[in-house]
């Protein structure tokens, strides 16, 4: 069976983790944030930002809870302005 597609990640949904947005978070928060603890507003799960699920479909960045998939943070950058939506978080720090 040719599983090379799996090697290339071609069959996955493109999910990364919070390490991938380290630079974006520095831009938004002015400091290193990948070890900050994020608490999900939906299920209460707490984890370091580096361990959250990150989707980057090109239109924006969506960060989700690894336990329940709820959207925690969304970042959209248009014409040099970053729109930051943190409504899914109970806390971040």
């Amino acid at each position: 069976m040719d599983d090379t597609a799996l090697d290339d990640g071609a069959l996955d949904d493109g999910a990364l983790d919070g390490n991938a947005i380290g630079g974006l978070l520095i831009e938004v928060f002015g400091t290193e944030m990948t070890t900050a603890v994020a608490t999900c507003g939906s299920c209460g799960a707490a984890s370091q930002v580096a361990e959250l699920v990150v989707y980057m479909p090109g239109l924006g960045t969506v960060v989700r809870c690894r336990s329940c998939d709820a959207m925690l943070m969304t970042f959209v950058q248009i014409r040099g302005v970053v729109c930051v939506d943190l409504e899914g978080l109970a806390s971040l720090g």
């Binding site: 949904d13 999910a15 989707y55 090109g58 239109l59 924006g60 248009i78 939506d85």
Partner: protein, 199 residues
């Protein structure tokens, strides 16, 4: 001006200009771009519904697949700048789905498994401009590309072609969907380069 990286340039269109909208480049891939995990709705539980009109209509998968469907070949244009030509689809026209429904609502909001939404004027769903597609490139539409069924509105930027679509809600006023809420254009015509609000 930041230092120029010698020899670096944006990907360029390598196809007839009348097929590639401004600012786009041609790709042979079909990138999988998602804002969340791929939903896995069982066909036995899948429905497509039209809400907000004078009546609510809903089809099960069997009922949906029994509707007249058609094959089409079209170009698609993503706001992330890639365009893909001659993509082949199979699906049910929105003209068929909306037929016989009394509706004077000018706007629609498509909604999907996983919570994604996007808005399209009803006029842009009618007259052979939009489908709910279940087939791609001669086979069933794969889950990563929106299967079992997605909306296809190829004359607008591809974020309007909602993956994993489960229905449309008819509205009196235009309402921003998921990306529109964050600043993407309410309409999204690639030929007028309407990527963001205010374009």
């Amino acid at each position: 001006m930041p230092p120029v990286s010698r020899g670096f340039h944006r990907k360029r269109a390598a196809a007839p200009a009348d097929r590639i909208p401004p600012g786009q480049y041609l790709t042979r891939d079909f990138p999988v771009l998602s804002a969340g995990p791929t939903p896995r709705t069982a066909l036995a539980r899948w429905t497509f519904s039209i809400e907000g009109g004078h009546e609510r209509k809903s089809w099960t998968w069997e009922e949906f697949r029994a509707l007249p469907s058609e094959k089409l070949t079209t170009d698609i244009h993503c706001v992330t700048r890639w365009s893909k030509l001659d993509t082949r689809w199979e699906g049910v026209s929105l003209d068929v789905l909306l037929a016989g429904m009394e509706h004077d609502a000018p706007y629609a909001l498509a909604f999907s498994d996983g919570g994604y939404t996007t808005n399209v004027p009803v006029a842009d769903l009618l007259d052979g401009k939009a489908w709910v597609v279940f087939g791609y490139d001669g086979g069933p539409l794969g889950a990563e590309h929106g299967g079992p069924a997605r909306l296809l509105v190829p004359h607008l930027y591809f974020w309007k072609s909602a993956k994993w679509v489960r229905g449309i809600r008819l509205l009196d006023r235009d309402q921003p969907g998921f990306w529109e809420n964050y600043g993407y254009n309410m309409y999204g015509d690639p030929w007028r380069e309407q990527r963001y609000a205010g374009d």
